[in-house]
Symmetry: C2
Subunit: 200 residues, 2 copies
């Protein structure tokens, strides 16, 4: 920017602005914050980033990110092996774990069926899911997929594959978010909340 | 989070959430983005962060961040040494340079006078500014400080110090932002834009 003098800052700003949700301006603010802050912080962050991909791998069973394989959830005998929660991405597991609502195991699909993006069933870990369901004595598969066209398609596809088995296939309820406002709810969500209405 | 398995991710999320404007949720999104992305990117970012504070230092003349001391601007013979632009922080220089409006030199105060935060004139580089003004034959000092109470106080203070010299002390115009809307302009800005009105 200002001649030779700012090369390292420029490089840092360029790299930071490649992160999702961080534009050129935010990247600049972050870079100067790092310069103003304790050098120890930058070094710690550098250390975590440098070792990230060597420390974290995919769990060979569920496909989540983990330091040890199988991951803590797959190897926890306290988790209910008869119920499996199917998610799109590893970060979905984090959200569900935070809710403390689910005590079974997980399976990461690695995406959703999206023909327009060239993602078919073979690009996902649906085969592994089926063999886990057979091998681990799973009785219920909860499809915790986003309520989108891709999520719906993928749920339908997996539901069909398991139709003639005795595995119960369920999906997360779709409807009004807690604390939400009826007035600002879109038509599709409202329609789903009607169809999924529950007894009081 | 999910037992032992996610320790490295948790550490990264914790560190990232300490950055300004990045909450726990954004930090999580960034961490998983980094895991999903090319490991080379994380390694490059780690490299820049690890060397940041050893590569970048303060310019002994103007106080800006630089790789070489004095910085590229201070050592550029093409810049007008008779006019100095006084800014609060190094990042302000970046913004002003991008506007290509100014061809003189800079001076970083390192803050603004803020008695409530315990920042007095002695905590700023005002002494160095005065000796530079004397030593470098400065004829005009443009105070490019934020139009805030702290900026106003600091500008008044520096103005007083230079009152009996033949250095002209100016301040950036305050008024309506270009593309702004009169209707949504606050009272103080409007009042300043009236007092600072210019001939058409």
């Amino acid at each position: 920017m200002n001649g030779r003098g700012l090369d390292a800052i420029d490089r840092l700003v360029d790299l930071l602005s490649k992160l999702p949700g961080i534009g050129k301006k935010s990247a600049g603010r972050l870079a100067y914050h790092l310069l103003d802050a304790d050098p120890g912080y930058s070094r710690m962050l550098a250390g975590e980033l440098a070792s990230l991909h060597s420390v974290i791998r995919r769990c060979s069973r569920c496909g989540s990110y983990t330091e040890s394989d199988p991951c803590a959830i797959c190897s926890d005998p306290g988790r209910d092996a008869s119920i499996i929660c199917v998610v799109e991405r590893p970060q979905d597991i984090r959200v569900i774990e935070e809710s403390r609502e689910f005590r079974g195991r997980f399976h990461v699909l690695g995406g959703l069926i999206a023909p327009l993006d060239g993602v078919g069933p073979d690009n996902l870990t649906i085969g592994q899911l089926l063999s886990r369901i057979r091998g681990e004595g799973v009785k219920e598969a909860i499809l915790a997929l986003n309520p989108t066209v891709e999520g719906d398609t993928t749920a339908l596809y997996i539901g069909k594959l398991l139709k003639d088995t005795d595995v119960e296939v369920t999906r997360l309820a779709s409807g009004l978010p807690v604390g939400g406002d009826l007035e600002y709810t879109d038509r599709l969500t409202l329609s789903r909340s009607f169809r999924g209405r529950v007894k009081v």
